[in-house]
Assembly symmetry: C2
Homo-oligomer: 164 residues x 2
Amino acid sequence: MPQSARVPTKISDKLHLDRFVPYRLSVLSNIVSMSIAHTYEREFGLTIPEWRVIAVLARYPNLSAIEVAERTAMDKVAVSRAVQSLIGARRLLRTYDKGDRRRSMLRLSSSGHAVYTRIAPLALGYERKLLNALSASDRRALDRLIGRLMERARLLDHLDGNGS
Amino acid sequence: MPQSARVPTKISDKLHLDRFVPYRLSVLSNIVSMSIAHTYEREFGLTIPEWRVIAVLARYPNLSAIEVAERTAMDKVAVSRAVQSLIGARRLLRTYDKGDRRRSMLRLSSSGHAVYTRIAPLALGYERKLLNALSASDRRALDRLIGRLMERARLLDHLDGNGS
DNA sequence: CGTCAATGGTTACAATTGAAACTATCGTAC
DNA sequence: GTACGATAGTTTCAATTGTAACCATTGACG
């Protein structure tokens, strides 16, 4: 049978990459992440994982590595590497829990804290400039939509056996 | 002067990672991308770049590698690698432009097309399930917001010397 | 025509990342 | 106490990716 006798494709089967929400999200997120990353890479030699570790420890000192992983959506290997490099750069201090010596307790050194207080405004400034594209009500909508999608995405992930 | 004499931090300087839009976007996008990627990795052994190349060629046959790169937001090295592997798996055919022999012309083989017609519904099905978390008007809003943010993110990127 | 910059694409090598195995400590059960 | 599984974290090795250098072809210019 010749190829030309083809069943017409249903509209719902057509995938137009640039209207496909997962793809659009991915592109948007990449541009945004790289823009910000570029800023603190350039000025402080920090990678994204390192910056995330700093940001979360600024807010919650004395977390263990695993707790950092949970709060940053990084895996523990990534945290371990970021922590090592930050300790090497004297931006982080590590002590060990008295009662459970497996458990590390991480906090910023004063130099680490200084980095944080200089980067945080830059990051927030970028966010502000980005969100300036939106009205106040659109900003609230965005926040709500991201939250809903996140929740749903996690649900689907677990249902389909991808998750933990 | 002792450290304890510290200027109180302004509210606007505080960065709470899980309320920071770029971070939330990144986490959301990762979960979504990995969920979908898992599907077609499992069933067809395709990577994300490979799948993107297939998707765009299904829609626009006979693009060159560079045109594929433009339409998929991938760089040309990534395209080159995905194309090589797809040709190796006989899912893509490459010919060269008669008038300009640098230029390749890529299109799906019938096997490549078969893969597309089987994956596209899965991808769209995932998208539909994801967007089921939203009302119809929220879906429209999402689309609009992503578009606005993308435009703005590109603008900021270029202004700040990150872009091309 | 011959040089030279630009374009399309690939290759090579280093840096990043991910998965699995590993060490060390702890808690529990015997 | 000691054996066992679980938890915290690290190391190792392979796969992925990113950057820069590299061909080949083309187009423009003298």
